[in-house]
């Protein structure tokens, strides 16, 4: 049977995906643009709409980084707005587990799940750095090694809060005068990171728990995904790498008593569609060159080398000096956190071997556009990627805001539907259903405790 493809759309905001210099790219913060992209995704029968998060404006060499789009919303707030103008589309918010507390996050996610009628998801991320911490009460309090132990306990605690109300707790029976049992919402959690108790305010939501998404890369991150997540994002969108990641992560599931089908793996991807393959290739090239401007090429190099390289010619060879071991010139950017010396070595070797300039090298490692071609070519490639075990679907980040997925949805989606690889219409109301995940068992209250209904 043809494997079903799961699609998500992302309004990419920051990072150099968005080609803001194209006049068709408009505001990254105007609500109408979020609504436009979400409605496009819903027209294409996507599973969900996704927003990433970064809690500090990036800085580069002591200044705010000014080459990429800057400025983004509070995810849960904007997604609540998006939920009001869509009917089926899931809404997935990235929310950090380091600079938040479980009670409030669990409450806001449960609220989004109520308001959307069961369409909420949470991408649990763990950015922990002291730079970001400067925006928060506790500052940068967490050691890197502890980021996943806190995230795992955070999520476990949130699940306890969501389970503190049974499905049948809101009785609201005027005849008996009973609104809720007095036990509804009671919880007590004592652990290494959280010692909390009391009563949770929000009744159990339509999905019970929102869908849990994870985007970890390290072994600890992959284990967290395998034990706790229902969707995993990755950056691996070349088929060979993607297959390796897919097999690795799916292979970890059995250790946690889960089956490979309990988890959807969705790499980030971009797509360029035109009438012919040749036109699409030319357009893709143009997009990539806009994404990696000469200034951006130098900035990315500086991020890896950890020092000022503004004297270098972007069309000339890579620097022969070695990276600084300490100084991080680019702050608030997760991609360049670790392994800079090794990255620099690799980049230099690649540039030498192929005779690439700085900008050509950055374009090469940036990877260009994932799916490029006529509608037929793109449909075949997307389908092949999934059917051959590279992914369960993709998160498409549009290079134009908000119209960047219009072509894909209007011209490629019908072909995927023809192949029987993508639904022609939604068949359920919850995000869990769209993803092909079983609903959580209903819970009932028995003598003070919530229990799965038999």
């Amino acid at each position: 049977m043809t494997k079903q493809i799961h699609l998500a759309a992302q309004l990419p905001a920051i990072h150099n995906v968005t080609v803001w210099s194209d006049p068709r790219s408009t505001s990254q913060i105007a609500v109408d643009n979020f609504v436009h992209l979400a409605r496009t995704a819903e027209r294409g029968k996507f599973d969900f709409f996704f927003l990433a998060e970064g809690l500090r404006v990036r800085e580069h060499k002591g200044h705010f980084y000014d080459l990429d789009v800057v400025g983004r919303p509070d995810n849960l707030t904007m997604l609540s707005t998006v939920a009001a103008v869509t009917r089926h589309l899931g809404v997935a918010a990235t929310v950090n587990a380091t600079f938040n507390e479980p009670y409030e996050v669990a409450r806001r996610l449960a609220t989004l799940d109520h308001l959307s009628g069961g369409r909420a998801a949470w991408n649990v991320v763990t950015s922990f750095d002291a730079f970001t911490g400067e925006n928060f009460r506790r500052g940068g309090f967490l050691a890197e090694a502890d980021r996943y132990t806190r995230a795992a306990e955070f999520l476990a605690t949130a699940r306890e809060l969501w389970d503190s109300w049974a499905d049948d707790d809101v009785q609201a029976d005027p005849a008996s005068g009973r609104f809720v049992p007095s036990e509804a919402g009671r919880f007590a959690h004592r652990g290494e990171h959280f010692d909390i108790s009391g009563r949770f305010t929000t009744p159990r939501s339509p999905q019970g728990h929102p869908v849990i998404i994870q985007a970890g890369e390290s072994p600890a991150g992959r284990d967290f995904a395998a034990s706790d997540a229902e969707v995993v994002f990755s950056k691996y969108n070349r088929l060979d790498e993607a297959r390796a990641f897919y097999q690795d992560v799916k292979g970890r599931l059995a250790r946690y008593g889960r089956s490979p089908d309990d988890l959807r793996i969705m790499p980030t991807a971009t797509v360029v569609v035109a009438d012919t393959d040749a036109e699409a290739a030319a357009y893709a090239d143009e997009i990539t060159r806009a994404q990696v401007s000469p200034q951006t090429a130098i900035a990315h190099l500086e991020a890896v080398w950890g020092r000022d390289l503004s004297a270098y010619d972007p069309d000339g060879p890579l620097p022969d000096i070695d990276p600084e071991s300490e100084s991080l010139v680019l702050k608030g950017h997760s991609v360049f956190r670790t392994g800079r010396a090794e990255t620099a070595r690799r980049w230099r070797a690649l540039a030498e071997e192929r005779g690439l300039s700085i900008r050509e090298l950055v374009i090469e490692v940036h990877g260009g556009q994932t799916f490029v071609g006529s509608p037929r070519t793109v449909a075949d490639a997307v389908d092949h990627f999934v059917q051959s075990g590279g992914a369960d679907g993709f998160v498409f980040a549009a290079h134009l805001t908000p119209g960047g997925l219009d072509d894909f949805v209007d011209r490629v989606v019908p072909l995927l539907q023809e192949k029987g690889a993508l639904r022609r219409d939604y068949t359920g109301t919850t995000l869990r259903h769209h993803l092909g995940l079983p609903p959580l068992p209903r819970t009932q209250r028995t003598s003070g405790n919530t229990k799965e209904a038999s």
Binding site: L55, D74, L76, T77, S80, A83, E101, R108, T202
Partner: protein, 402 residues
């Protein structure tokens, strides 16, 4: 006709402010659905009201202001107010949206970014109501600090409550200051999209706020571009001198709770005193003063009082409130509002005793009554919530001005 229009707002809370109100609802328990809130807010907008507020708290409701109770016969459970406001934003076009946000247990940075986002989502109609956590039990939900436990004696007197909670108000003042700085941390024209130099922003038009207070510090800037209103509206409820000072320092609207006309006059004098003490220039930064009234409204004389009594019976006790309770006809309420107003009030935040009936009585009966007397608008003008409230365009504290 008065020269300044009367401002009217409605305070939404669960099934209404009477604790037994849920029992008269058509679908009790629907208050956890989106449609419920969408219906209420669109109804309020049909009445051309200035704004709606949404109550909230980081603990389960209780009949006692200072500690939890175990009652099972009243509404218990709630949804996050900011998210409700964000949900109704695209379903409405004019009405202001003012959710309550806790400032004791939350991150000031997240609060500022959330309200800025709400203002973007509502295209310039957002505000928020900072609220401290008066119940010590809520602190165990976070496990990070403890807050003062009020006693049964304390809660008899709002001055005593405020005195005991003074540190929380001091912290709330810092939170308000941080949100205002974060909203200014992007200048309006920070985004330049200069293709020649490849720069998306003018990096000199974003600013660290470098707030270092007694309770926390925040570096900034905001991750969200300056909201459409520049400074979304901040409104607070105040019953005593400390909260009057809090409002005088940082808020745009203060909700006060007089029980009669003389009380309104006395409270406004106290507010004036607090404004003077804060050294606030009311021309540059006006403070709008609203009185709160819980309302039960029916056309037939006596019917509203009887309805309230029936709810009191169901509740097992007479419903009393921190604000005045009105039962009567729309005409009588119009008389009262216009009379109290002459003390210098700008408007009223009405708390419907039971929704939807007391809300629709406001929008469909009270509003036409006021309009007949030339005291209420006949259409929404253009503009933001700030514009409607007559609050001037806020200067950005970080802009050098060129």
């Amino acid at each position: 006709m008065n020269d300044t229009p009367l401002h009217l707002a409605v305070a939404l809370d669960g099934a209404g402010w009477h604790p037994a109100a849920w029992r008269s609802q058509e679908t009790p328990g629907a208050l956890f659905t989106a449609a419920y809130w969408a219906d209420l807010v669109t109804e309020a907008e049909r009445g051309l009201l200035d704004f709606v507020t949404f109550e909230d708290s980081l603990g389960v409701q209780s009949a006692a202001p200072h500690r939890p109770d175990d009652r099972t016969d009243q509404v218990r459970g709630s949804l996050d107010a900011v998210l409700i406001a964000a949900f109704v934003a695209p379903l409405t076009t004019h009405i202001g949206l003012i959710p309550t946000v806790n400032v004791t247990h939350t991150e000031p940075f997240h609060v500022a970014v959330g309200i800025a986002t709400l203002d973007h989502a509502a295209k310039g109609r957002a505000g928020w109501r900072p609220q401290i956590a008066p119940r010590a039990a809520d602190a165990t939900h976070f496990g990070r600090r403890s807050t003062p436990q009020l006693t049964d004696d304390d809660i008899r007197d709002s001055e005593l409550i405020a005195k005991r909670l003074r540190p929380l108000f001091a912290e709330a003042t810092e939170v308000v200051e941080v949100t205002r700085r974060l909203w200014d941390s992007w200048e309006d024209d920070a985004e330049i999209r200069d293709t020649a130099t490849g720069r998306f922003i003018d990096r000199d038009k974003l600013h660290h706020i470098d707030f270092a207070g007694e309770y926390f510090s925040v570096r900034g800037p905001s991750i969200t571009p300056r909201p459409p209103q520049g400074q979304p509206v901040i409104a607070s409820v105040a019953h005593a001198s400390t909260p009057y000072e809090f409002a005088a320092r940082g808020c745009d609207v203060v909700f006060v709770t007089p029980f009669d006309r003389a009380g309104a006059k006395a409270i406004l004098a106290q507010v004036d005193e607090a404004v003077e003490g804060a050294g606030r220039d009311l021309v540059e930064r006006p403070l709008r003063r609203f009185a709160e009234v819980v309302v039960f409204l029916d056309d037939e004389p006596g019917a509203a009082a009887r309805r309230k009594e029936r709810l009191d019976t169901l509740n097992g006790a007479e419903y009393t409130s921190d604000a005045a309770i009105f039962t009567g006809t729309p005409g009588e309420l119009a008389d009262l509002l216009l009379d109290w107003r002459t003390t210098g009030l700008d408007g009223f935040r009405l708390r419907p005793g039971a929704v939807p009936q007391d809300l629709t009585a406001i929008t469909r009966r009270l509003v036409p009554e006021l309009r007949q007397r030339g005291a209420f608008r006949t259409e929404y003008g253009p503009g933001t919530l700030r514009d409607r409230l007559g609050l001037p365009a806020p200067r950005n504290r970080y802009a050098r001005g060129d």
